[in-house]
Amino acid sequence: MAGVVDVPQQIQTDAKIVVKAITSVFHLKKTRTEPAREFIALKEINLEVKKGEFLVLVGPSGCGKSTLLDILTGLAQPTSGAVYIDGNKVTGPALDRGIVLQGYALFPWRTVRQNVEFGLEIKKVPKRERRAISDNFIHLVGLDGFADRFPHELSGGMKQRVAIARALAYDPEVLLMDEPFAAVDAQTRESLQDELLRIWEATGKTILFVTHSIEEAVFLGDRVAVLTPNPGTLREIVKIDLPRPRHNSDTRSSAEFGWIRRKIWELLQNAPHESRHHLNAVPVAEAISPTASL
């Protein structure tokens, strides 16, 4: 096992993102009710994402998926292990990764255009070029005509489109999305998912998408990585063989979609520490489960 000390700075790999033996331990301070203790958020996570792949991390709250994303972003350091992008170790945040967060996190004092141009300003792109790029991405997310609006004048779905445009504008190769559609209503959510797939196909980015919705995970991903909590471990990676392009009504109503959804649901239900006896105790559920065939 690679210790904290000798994690190589570079590795040979074809994969876009390599997550290698990530463990993340938090030291919880003493509170009134509990003594100080260690909390293992992530344990020995290994993961590879190919270039241009759409990988979804799914898991219940508390499984460490947001911690994993923070480590990928470079905002947090793992206790041991490392993340490599194009074979180079991630040491901090950089413009080769874009992030989209659940709460939009738009800057309310900036217009849609200024929000989209934020990363470009940091990158010191000249003003005229910035304008052309932001025009392009505002068009891509379907917000033409809203460029000079302020975030408080937009609906939730529109804000999330701005956040996506902002993350894409400075041309990162990897897009990290942390439950981006969790705060919007169900209908908007489905149209945003469609939109995201369209944008992904148009731009060819590598996307790592975190969600707690199984349906969303199955609909979007090429593969779905299932995380289970206490401690956060990677339980299984499920390959989604649904044909692309996927369209909302057809894909979601197909039988296969239902089977895969069911399988991931099972995986999440049978969290390892209790599953041992549960699996044996309820063979009936296993027997009638259609996922056995998958």
């Binding site: 972003t73 470079g74 945040p93 874009g98 967060l101 996190a105 300003e121 975030p151 408080h152």
Partner: protein, 327 residues
């Protein structure tokens, strides 16, 4: 006949003031009150006009504004960086310092006035120091709160781009904090208006407060009313202007009204931009320069007038000196 709703509401809202003004005019005329002690509105308005014509009013206004702006600027220079540091980086120190800062801010500004007079003499420094002292605390406290409560998601999404510390400060923390900081500035400004007028009454040879005080000492009753009315109007306009700017700054903050009366200051279509910020700063700088010249001239005049009395009295306010300026 029905009036449009807007006209109707305007009429309703102004009715209280209108009735008051009518009463002010008629009560002395009909001898309900002694017109010697309460001159009717029209006479007071004429007196204001006269004061404006001779330039007295604008001169004293300029002097008072200079003191206010100087004091406020000094407070900003101290409180803004301190507030940002305490709110953003030294949060542990900030919470440890909180009771001490609260204690200091509770010190009565009028109790500080004699102290400052003692330290700095009766000159301009004491008055500017009082203004600085009074405005320092609201600006400091609101800056601490403003920078402390910047949305962590906004910080995170900027941090994910690997922005530098200064970029984080200029492009995220400050813009997010400005509306709240401005609340502190507004409160400081209204406090200044109150304290400065009082300080000018207690010991000064110029300024709006002195104008009223001087009129009272000489029993120029219409001039007292004229000065007081002008000050009230000025305060009202200043308050409204500041509330307006505050509302436009925090247009995106939802329904966070800062003060009870601010409730009705609706968000406007006007949005403060770089141009208006530059214009505002230019006006303030102009006040600083013109005011400084005027203050110097007035003080020299006062010095020449008081040349018969001891020449070093100015620096070290002797009892005689402070009473000649004040009471």
């Amino acid at each position: 006949m029905r009036l449009p709703a807007a006209v109707n509401s305007l009429l309703l809202r102004s009715s209280g003031v209108l009735i008051f003004l009518i009463l002010w005019e008629t009560a002395p005329r009909l001898a309900w009150v002694d017109p010697y002690f309460v001159p009717p509105l029209s006479i007071v308005v004429r007196e204001i006009w006269l004061l404006l014509e001779t330039g007295d009013l604008s001169r004293h206004l300029l002097v008072s504004s200079w003191r206010a702006v100087t004091g406020l600027s000094l407070a900003l220079v101290v409180a803004l960086p301190l507030g940002i540091i305490l709110g953003r980086w030294l949060t542990g120190l900030a919470s440890a310092l909180e009771p001490l800062l609260r204690l200091l801010s509770q010190i009565n500004p009028f109790a500080m006035l004699p102290l400052f007079l003692l330290f700095f003499g009766i000159g301009e420094t004491a008055k500017v120091a009082v203004v600085t002292w009074v405005t320092l605390w609201p600006i400091l406290f609101y800056t601490i709160i403003a920078t402390r409560t910047v949305d962590p998601l906004q910080i995170k999404s900027a941090a994910a781009l690997g922005v530098s510390r200064s970029e984080m400060l200029c492009k995220v923390i400050l813009p997010a904090a400005v509306p709240t900081i401005f609340i502190g500035i507004r409160i400081g400004a209204s406090l200044t208006f109150f304290i400065l007028i009082a300080a000018e009454m207690l010991g000064a040879g110029s300024g709006l407060g002195w104008l009223v005080h001087n009129s009272a000492m000489n029993y120029l009753i219409p001039r007292i009313y004229a000065g007081a009315t002008f000050i009230v109007l000025l305060g009202f306009l200043l308050n409204r202007l500041l509330l307006y700017i505050e509302a436009s700054l925090s247009i995106w903050q939802g329904s966070q009204s800062g003060s009870p009366v601010a409730g009705q200051s609706r968000a406007s279509s006007w949005r403060p931009d770089r141009g208006s910020a530059v214009a505002g700063t230019a006006i303030l700088v102009l006040v600083l320069i013109l005011g400084a010249l005027e203050v110097r001239r007035l003080n020299q005049e006062a010095l020449a007038g008081a040349s018969s009395s001891s020449s070093h009295a100015k620096h070290f306010g002797t009892p005689a000196d402070s009473s000649d300026g004040g009471l």
